[in-house]
């Protein structure tokens, strides 16, 4: 957490909890990557955690619903669940302005 503030320009730190190769999880990774790609100037660190492989990590973050994306930094921490097909909701959680995508 302490590192978040020192990161100039506000690096986006994300954790995406997925459940193996399940359709929603696969879709979530795809959708998230696509949105992030729309902001080339953005510094984003994405960590993908498979709760099937490490349930303890899922437990610690209390991830019941998969997939769940947690925006760890910058604070406040925010969450979004689902396959992230709802781009508007995802962008809002990421704290990004309307993506000027061409």
């Amino acid at each position: 957490m302490s590192g978040t503030r020192s990161t100039k320009g506000g690096t986006l730190r994300l954790r995406l909890y997925v459940a193996g190769e399940s359709p929603n999880s696969v879709a979530a990774i795809r959708h998230l990557r696509a949105v992030l790609a729309g902001y080339p100037s953005l510094h984003a660190e994405l960590e993908i955690i498979d709760v099937l492989k490490s349930p303890e990590a899922g437990m610690r973050a209390r991830v019941l619903v998969t997939p769940t994306m947690v925006k760890v930094a910058p604070s406040p921490e925010r969450r979004i669940t689902g396959n992230l097909k709802d781009t508007n909701a995802l962008v809002a959680v990421l704290g990004l302005t309307e993506a000027p995508r061409e």
Binding site: S25, V51, P55, R78, T81, N83, A92
Partner: protein, 577 residues
Amino acid sequence: MIKRHRGIRYVSTGIRGFDEITGGGLPAGRITVVLGGAGGGKTIFGVQALAVGARQFAEPGVFVAFEESANQVVENTRSFVWGIDRLKGKSIDVVDAYLSQSAEQGGEFDLLGLLSILGQRVKAIRAKRIVLDGLDVLLANLGNPTLARREVFRLREWLQDSRLTAIITAKADAADIRLSPEYDFLQFMADCVVTVQHRVVGGTAMRFIRVAKCRGGPHSANEFPFTIGEEGIEVGAGAAMEMDHPAPTTRISSGVERLDSMLGGGYHRGSSTLITGSPGTAKTTLAAAFAVSASQRKERTLFVSFDEAPAQIVRNIASVGIALGPHVASGVLRMHSLRSRVASPEAHVAHIRELLREHRAQNLVLDPISALGPGGEESLGQRAAIEILDLTKSQSITGVYTSLLGNKAALTEETPIGISTIADTWMHVSYVNQGGERNRALTVIKSRGTGHSNQVRELILSKTGLTLSDVYSAGGEVLMGTLRWEREGQERRKQHNFKRELEVRQREAALVLAETQARTRAALSAEAVQEAALERIKAEREESDEQVATQSLELRQRRGADDLRVARRRATRPSAR
């Protein structure tokens, strides 16, 4: 305690009375859904089943808290004897699974994350049981009913695959135990559906449990009252289905000597005696006599009264020479008063059970047992009463129970709480109205295993205690009290009077005789008087005749007739010479 019904194995819940309803507990490796309103006892049902499984059946369990935090769940069970605080992390695992509503929804989801966590926890402690507490909360927070439904079916599959005995609790409309329509499917995916309810009956808050469905098992679909006490949920009625009581043959005194002989030596130890009667017929006194007698034998005795303070009972009973006080002081006798309206019959039963255990009682007096039934719902009181009888019998506690009962009801031989059939001995005290006076008549209506006297006895209260007296029957009627003494007196008097009458008659006859004799004597004397008078008259007449003769002679002499003088001298003085 494993039972099978049509191939389905059942595991005990450890909930007193519940296992009997379903014929063994819950179907093993299957899903039971527990529905009820808020505060209905759903969570306790789940935790208790887990705790008992872990403690008594070596079946570790996982508790999944969707509604409250794991810590809260553990804390809430601390007051129960099976509290899971000591088991946590060993044979019981509690999973925090409250789904924060703060998460945004960004498309289709699944519950694989949850299943992954649960899978890991189950594996870690080799759990056999699992409780998913407040699934409705999870479903509501998921927000998408269609998806939620699909995920619940996924959950069901997972539970079945893992062969866990699962309890899923969900909030339902308290009034008619119905889930919100979108979660209706929960009931259909369950093998067993249990409902718990909290409602007010006759002014008393009561809890009820019902098994609405149970696959494979022969279950009772009736509603049963239950309480939540120190031991958790205790369901009434179930226990009564077991009839395996020991039957001791030793006798203990009832505290009334004549009653003991009437009953062939007293009450059987471990038996239950019902004393019925109208108010004021000395039911409490009879029960107190037993309590004192038991206390004198140094037997630990519990005297539970309803709506009457112990001090008041002690004082009232002391007035007839039965001293409860010293035994209360010595600790052998414990008196406890309950308020009938404050708690449900089931709560009273739980309380009494607790008191019996605390006091390690060998004898119980419950005065009156009829106070268990709240107004209008006699069947509940009856069930509670049966449970008390069952409880004491199973522990060989000798019980004496009084019950309010009018004389009229006695005719139909039906106690208001219907326990007369279960009680071993049933005595009825009634008032008999005769000659403007009420007397107490005691009848032993039944007494199992005893050649008891069928005769009615008069129950007499005095400053020195209770006594039974033989009754006096006259003209086919049983007489008591003053009337009896009167009638007995009448008989005595009759005899007495007859004797006296004879005496009088004898005396009268004697008098008459005496009078007659007197009269006879009087008559006789009158006769004598008459005779005497007659004699006198005769004598007077003779005298006068003589005088006449003398006078005529004198006349003749005076006229000079000589010979007559000589003749007269000879006649008047013959012996003068």
